[in-house]
């Protein structure tokens, strides 16, 4: 069955550095992958969608890569700021039904000033 793993539950980095979060998946070849940000006490907020035929996508300081051979997506935040501290979730269409998303457990990022 489909499995999604996000690296380390928590990641601490120094302000100004690049944060790199990993999303690995198995037993599936999704047509796309999404990344969301979730702040405490709030709902997830959509950040980026990358399709299987796209290697890389950028939005301001965010960059997402999608390696369908490695079955992995990397999410980068460059020049990180304390305001980037949040939990980041990757999501893939469900292998059984593309109509629904399966979310990873998330990585809690803390950017230290």
């Amino acid at each position: 069955s489909q499995k999604i793993e996000q690296n380390s539950e928590a990641l601490n980095i120094q302000e100004g550095k690049t944060a790199t979060l990993t999303c690995n998946y198995t037993n599936y070849s999704p047509a796309y992958l999404q990344w969301y940000r979730q702040d405490p006490g709030r709902g997830p907020v959509f950040l980026l969608l990358i399709r299987e035929n796209e290697k890389e996508k950028r939005k301001e300081r965010l960059k997402v890569t999608f390696d369908t051979t490695l079955k992995q997506s990397l999410f980068h935040i460059t020049a990180s700021q304390p305001a980037d501290s949040a939990t980041y979730l990757c999501a893939l269409p469900n292998s059984g039904s593309a109509r629904q998303l399966t979310f990873g457990s998330g990585t809690q990022l803390t950017v230290l000033p």
Binding site: G43, P44, Q100, S105
Partner: protein, 113 residues
């Protein structure tokens, strides 16, 4: 001008009671969802409606009954509440059934005593 709103924000109730959570979206989207996020932060799909029709019904106890009076509203009614129902429930919407970003509400924290 909130995009996806839920009421109430917090719900504390006794085991065995029946309660409802309401959700409204003003984005003109065709598809709405209910998710459950447990204490370990896993976000799991419960139901999805497209144009008032149920299209996803995950393995959820039949004590949970969604109702969509119109495209902009998706309510969740829970009968005979149990301790294990304690979680944060998120409503979400998207323009299309699949492959689209989802917009989440602020969540309803349900505590069953």
């Amino acid at each position: 001008d909130t995009a996806v709103s839920q009421t109430p924000k917090y719900l504390v109730t006794q085991m065995g009671n029946d309660k409802s959570i309401k959700c409204e979206q003003n984005l003109g989207h065709d598809t709405m969802y209910w998710y459950k996020q447990d204490s370990k932060k896993f976000l799991k799909i419960m139901f999805s409606y497209n144009n008032k029709e149920l299209i996803i019904n995950e393995t959820v106890p039949n004590r949970f009954s969604p109702k969509s009076p119109d495209k902009a509203h998706l309510n969740l009614h829970i009968n005979s509440l149990e301790l294990g129902d304690s979680a944060v429930y998120f409503c979400a919407s998207s323009q299309k059934v699949a492959g689209d970003e989802q917009f989440f509400g602020p969540g309803t924290r349900l505590t069953v005593l």
